[in-house]
């Protein structure tokens, strides 16, 4: 099946450097992301992949560099603004809301779109009730999309790991993002779970045209599904290009010797 045509550069990361008390996490990283593409960031553990994402959605503030999104340039991002601009994110080690069930977790991804004020909610008549229902339907479509109908009212803490990952993705999708940052979406999954997750990622990119930036360990997966790949090692960029280009890149090969999957 044909994938969406890849468009202009939408997210441009320039010369990002980040360090924690002298420890350099990222050094002068630059790369860009195009509309509708699937962009992978790979690299050994501690290469600074997660830190990169954390800079993009404002958890960390880089000491140097700038991030340009749809023409607007920032020297540091603010989580709220990032969310409003339509950048969503899933997490490496699950960051679900343990105390809530699947529906509420995904529903919480809709909070930016819910407008009724606190009094209306307290009375829960008219607008508030209608709003809840409208968004519940959206959430149900996501649940349907991710094929987790059987667990919609289960507290997420009770779900097996693989399903929690899906809920995490669901919460991000609920934001109807333009860019989706996936932090090791397939870490610690078995083959089937990985296949499912791949399918979902591709379907998201395919059906909603969402641009996807993903960090992944499993080289096989990355090479299969991504259009372009950035390779980090010890906080430095050592490769950038199509999977094939990267595969044949000397530095990458040496960095991955032994550690490659």
């Amino acid at each position: 099946m044909s994938r969406r045509s890849i468009g202009e550069v939408m997210l441009d990361v320039k010369n990002i450097s980040l360090s924690f008390g002298g420890v350099k996490a990222l050094t002068d990283i630059s790369f860009n992301v195009r509309e509708h593409e699937i962009r992978a960031i790979i690299g050994p553990n501690g290469a600074g992949k997660s830190s990169m994402l954390n800079c993009i959605n404002g958890v960390y503030t880089p000491q140097q560099g700038s991030i340009t999104f749809r023409g607007k340039t920032f020297d540091h991002m603010n989580s709220r603004e990032v969310a409003e601009m339509g950048i969503a994110r899933t997490f490496q080690n699950l960051a679900l809301f343990k105390g809530m069930n699947v529906i509420d977790n995904i529903m919480s991804g809709r909070n930016l779109k819910m407008k009724t004020n606190i009094f209306q909610q307290a009375l829960r008549i008219g607008a508030a009730e209608r709003e809840e229902q409208a968004h519940r339907e959206v959430v149900e479509r996501i649940i349907d999309f991710l094929e987790i109908q059987a667990w919609r009212k289960t507290p997420v803490a009770r779900l097996p790991y693989g399903l929690q990952k899906r809920v995490d993705l669901g919460r991000a999708l609920a934001m109807e993002p333009q860019v989706l940052l996936l932090d090791e979406p397939m870490a610690g999954m078995n083959i089937e779970e990985k296949q499912d997750m791949c399918r979902f990622v591709l379907d998201v990119n395919d059906q909603f045209g969402t641009t996807i930036v993903l960090i992944e360990h499993d080289m096989g997966v990355v090479m299969d599904i991504s259009d372009r790949v950035v390779v980090l090692d010890y906080g430095k960029k050592i490769g950038d290009g199509t999977p094939d280009e990267v595969r044949s890149n000397e530095e990458v090969i040496s960095a991955y010797l032994g550690t490659s999957h």
Binding site: E84, F91, S108, Q121, E132
Partner: protein, 354 residues
């Protein structure tokens, strides 16, 4: 065992998202409220009203408020007594200083004052987390203790430092007999419980819980910690303030600052923990527990005809109470509400194991 859910299918989200989706639960709760409003007034004795029911209702309300802050938003507060005090004294001043101020309005406005106070002392929560915050909230407590003791104006310059409410007229209904007071409180509690439930199951509630469970992730999906935490503080201290006003007006009638000292704060915290963090129902369980246990412990010896002097009795009560709390934390950290829901699940799955 008692549940028969076949045929209770939902054809609309409204039906699916109602507070008690299972019919049997709906009937039960309605029956309870009806009984509380109609049956109890006929059977309960004056002592039961004064010593049990009225305190239970008001403390449930306070616990409910605190639970929103601690249980739903995860912000610990040891200053609840202070917030109650603000509610009580604000309401008192409004009542005595403004001519023809209706009691109910005074009580609600008391809540509003408490809310403002709560928000101010909630501001630190934006920077400080966890135990640091817990200790910080003590500042509110001690400030109130001091203010209502030393600032005479607040107590309408009463010599003794204790204030007393005249008679409580609510739109021509003179709330003076225990039954009246009980019904008056019941009304407040039912309404506030409903509103609170609506809030916590709405998106504000979800924002609170998101902050509680994983604040970083919450921020990344666009939840503003500032807004979430401060609304929690506001709503919480509003309800607590109203409870405080009721405590003063309805339960005590006349009181001193000591009525809202730090022990009150601790008791309320016990209620939400023992009752169950993050559960409206739990607030009621907790309140019931904290109200009943001491009374039982006090009377136990007499029931067995053991003579025991009051000082010793109170000390023993303290001991047993402390032991019970520890016991609970060890056996069921999620409180009575969890026991309740587990029991319910068991009934639903019966005869299958949970």
């Amino acid at each position: 065992m008692l549940y028969r859910e076949n045929g209770q299918f939902k054809t609309s989200y409204q039906a699916d998202q109602q507070i008690f989706p299972i019919a049997q639960d709906r009937y039960l709760i309605l029956a309870l409220i009806a009984a509380a409003a109609i049956v109890v007034p006929f059977i309960a004795s004056e002592y039961v009203f004064r010593a049990l029911l009225i305190p239970f209702l008001i403390l449930s309300l306070a616990a409910l408020g605190l639970n929103i802050l601690v249980g739903y938003c995860g912000q610990i507060s040891l200053g609840t007594g202070g917030f109650m005090a603000v509610g009580a004294y604000a309401a008192y001043n409004l009542l005595v200083r403004i001519e023809g101020m209706p009691a109910v309005v005074a009580i609600l406005l008391g809540g509003v004052f408490a809310m403002a106070f709560g928000v101010v002392f909630g501001i630190p929560s934006l920077r400080i987390k966890g135990l640091y915050l817990a200790v910080a909230t003590l500042a509110a407590q001690f400030f109130c203790d001091w203010a209502f003791l030393r600032i005479k104006w607040l107590t309408n310059d009463s010599a003794s430092g204790s204030v007393s409410v005249p008679e409580l007229m609510v739109f021509g209904w003179n709330v003076d007999t225990p039954i009246d007071k009980y019904l008056f409180c019941l009304g407040f509690v039912v309404i506030f419980a409903l509103l609170a439930k609506n809030l916590v199951r709405g998106h504000t509630g979800r924002e609170w819980m998101a902050i509680r469970d994983m604040d970083v992730a919450a921020a990344l999906i666009g939840i503003r910690p500032v807004y979430a935490k401060l609304t929690a503080f506001a709503v919480s201290s509003f309800i607590v303030g109203v409870a405080g006003a009721l405590w003063g007006f309805v339960h005590l009638g006349s009181w001193e600052p000591a009525a809202f000292n730090i022990t009150r704060s601790f008791d309320l915290l016990f209620m939400v923990i023992i009752g169950g963090l993050g559960s409206i129902m739990g607030s009621f369980f907790g309140a019931a527990f904290i109200v009943i246990v001491p009374i039982v412990l006090d009377n136990l010896p007499n029931w067995f005809g053991i003579p025991i002097d009051t000082a010793l009795a109170s000390h023993l009560t303290f001991m047993i109470f402390g032991a019970l709390i520890v016991f609970f934390l060890i056996v069921e950290p999620h409180g009575l509400a969890r026991l309740w829901s587990v029991g319910k699940e068991k009934l639903r799955l019966w005869p299958f194991p949970h």
